[in-house]
């Protein structure tokens, strides 16, 4: 137990929900900027359209439930959920996909359970998983990154892809995690030499997107939005497992630790999803366990499961376990013996 030893004044302004949500939105900027640079402005259209639907659904439900609409919307939580969901979705997604995702996030995962603070599952990840198992085709068409595509789509193309999906024809490419999954019989050296998408570490474009989210996450950590335990535990567990099975890059080695850290949604998940204060474990030791198990699940599903990326599934599975982890990691209150649990 640490005591704060600071001089007066001791009163400090607590972080309000609105301030936290605004900080989270700001922290997504570096990652989103990298996404826009490499994959074009599709992600911006995603964010705008998903936020619109999320706010509309939230307002409608609040009205139905007889809650103050404007005051609740002012906490920005719907926009944060929508933004996180929109970042996770493939850019240039059709509008109805975004609407269904926003509905699943806001209506099903958030408001049906009672609104912000009562949701046992991360709303953005529920929306993502609902879309992933419902529309596998749309959810697995990722745009080709800058440098590999002939040209990166512009803003007009992005709007066209969203609202008139049938007329949009963009270059798509398998993501690095897809490539690794489908070619588990090749050694990593041959794979990296044969496929330009893999780039140097985590895939062309992807590694910079990951570094962008890492930068945003570190800034949030500095601002005290969350503690380091869950994200560090998750990244450490994922890297440790990847190192354990790496065996120098032979066939079926599952990718290097650096590849796993810088590819897919690892960094985004570690700093923006795992740190969700509502659906994660709350005790310090609990957060370490929660984060580490998410890392283990991500590695297992990525290399042994049916889906290329696994952050959403891993987070949802561990959301189930969070109350259980909290129950067994409840800190002992000072002056009390560690009694037997009922």
């Amino acid at each position: 137990m640490s005591l704060l030893r600071i001089t007066s004044p001791h009163a400090h302004g607590p972080l309000s929900t609105t301030r936290v949500m605004q900080t989270v939105l700001l922290a997504t900027l570096p990652g989103v900027a990298a996404l826009v640079w490499f994959f074009g402005p599709g992600v911006l259209v995603n964010i705008a359209v998903t936020s619109f639907f999320a706010i509309a659904f939230e307002a409608a439900v609040l009205k139905l439930r007889g809650r103050p609409v404007l005051r609740t919307l002012d906490d920005h939580s719907a926009v944060v959920t929508a933004t996180l969901l929109a970042i996770a979705l493939p850019p240039y997604a059709p509008w109805w996909l975004l609407a269904v995702g926003a509905a699943a996030s806001i209506l099903l995962a958030k408001q049906l359970y009672g609104g912000l603070g009562y949701n046992p599952f991360n709303p953005a990840m529920v929306g993502y998983v609902v879309l992933l198992i419902s529309f596998p085709v749309q959810m697995s068409t990722w745009a080709a990154p800058r440098g590999l595509a002939a040209e990166v789509p512009g803003l007009v193309d992005a709007l066209q892809a969203c609202f008139i999906p049938a007329s949009f024809d963009g270059a798509t490419m398998a993501t690095p995690l897809d490539i690794l999954r489908q070619n588990s019989d090749q050694s990593l050296a041959a794979l990296y030499a044969g496929t330009p998408q893999l780039g140097a570490w985590g895939g062309v474009g992807w590694q910079w997107v990951s570094l962008g989210f890492l930068a945003g996450g570190l800034w949030m950590l500095y601002r005290g939005i969350f503690t380091w335990h869950a994200p560090v535990a998750m990244l450490a567990a994922l890297a440790a497992l990847a190192a354990l099975f790496y065996d120098g890059g032979g066939p079926g080695s599952g990718g290097s630790p650096l590849f796993h850290l810088l590819s897919g949604a690892t960094m985004f998940g570690a700093f923006f999803i795992v740190t969700d204060p509502v659906s994660s474990a709350v005790s310090t030791r609990g957060r370490l366990i929660y984060g580490a198990l998410i890392g283990v699940l991500i590695y297992l599903i990525r290399t042994r499961g049916n889906y290329p990326d696994a952050v959403a599934f891993a987070v949802l599975i561990m959301n189930f376990a969070a109350p259980f982890i909290d129950y067994y990691t409840q800190p002992r209150s000072y002056g009390h013996a560690r009694g037997d649990r009922p």
Binding site: I133, F135, P136
Partner: protein
């Protein structure tokens, strides 16, 4: 008196004590086979038939079978009824029989049926037991078909597909496409969709119930026309 009993039985089976929405019994087939109307209708008919047969038979033997061996006897009766249903379906709706697969024999283990046999039929006269079976079966079946319709509409954008499996080749053209070019929404057809839609149906039923309750309460408290206000003067010690 007797009319009252039958009215209460219908109300219980269809609404107040609905096996699927209130007792939450028989959830396994409810969730597994309601991906389309034809599947739901097939299983609903089979369950209804078994429920009527078993309730009647159990009521007939209620004075003969001792308490100690009653459950095995009930299960034997239910299993025979299920076997009959299975053979009938094999004969008249073979494709549907193949689609429903394991869930037909599993009707034997459906809690609704054993629950009604032990909870009602073993204590009541034949006529009432038979009627109770029919109402419970109908209540279960209505929810099954409703759920099947919801999931089929949301999942595929069409309704009444493949009805020829149950009603013969004449029904092949019954399919109604509600939305052209609908993007299949797999979640509604997969098991999680069954859970979500069942939950929404239960919520809707509770909402209707609380609405009825509120209106009844408002009517109770409304002043009767012509009644006089009680006037209190002075202090009450």
């Amino acid at each position: 008196m007797s009319e009252h009993v039958y009215r209460d039985l219908s109300l219980n089976g269809l609404w107040k004590n609905n096996p699927a929405l209130v007792q939450l019994l028989g959830l396994c087939p409810l969730l597994a086979v309601t991906a389309s109307v034809v599947n739901a209708l097939g299983l609903a008919a089979a369950t209804l038939f078994v429920l009527i047969c078993s309730n009647t038979a159990v009521s007939l033997i209620r004075h003969v079978v001792s308490d100690a061996v009653r459950l095995p006897a009930f299960v034997m009766i239910i299993a025979s009824a299920v076997t009959c249903t299975e053979l009938l379906m094999q004969a008249y709706a073979y494709e549907l029989y193949q689609i429903l697969g394991i869930f037909l024999p599993l009707i034997t283990t459906n809690c609704v049926i054993l629950g009604r046999a032990d909870g009602y039929a073993s204590k009541n006269a034949v006529g009432r037991s038979c009627f109770d079976g029919a109402m419970m079966g109908l209540g279960f079946g209505v929810v099954l078909v409703l759920l099947g319709a919801l999931r089929e509409v949301f999942g595929t954008g069409a309704l009444f597909a493949d009805m020829d499996l149950l009603f013969g080749p004449a029904a092949a053209g019954w399919k109604v496409v509600l939305v052209e070019g609908y993007q299949p929404f797999l979640l509604a057809i997969l098991p999680p969709g069954a859970f979500i839609f069942t939950g929404l149906l239960i919520a809707l039923k509770n909402r209707i119930d609380s609405g009825i309750e509120q209106r009844a309460a408002a009517r109770r408290e409304a002043p009767v026309r012509g009644s006089k206000r009680v006037r209190v003067t002075g202090t009450i010690s």
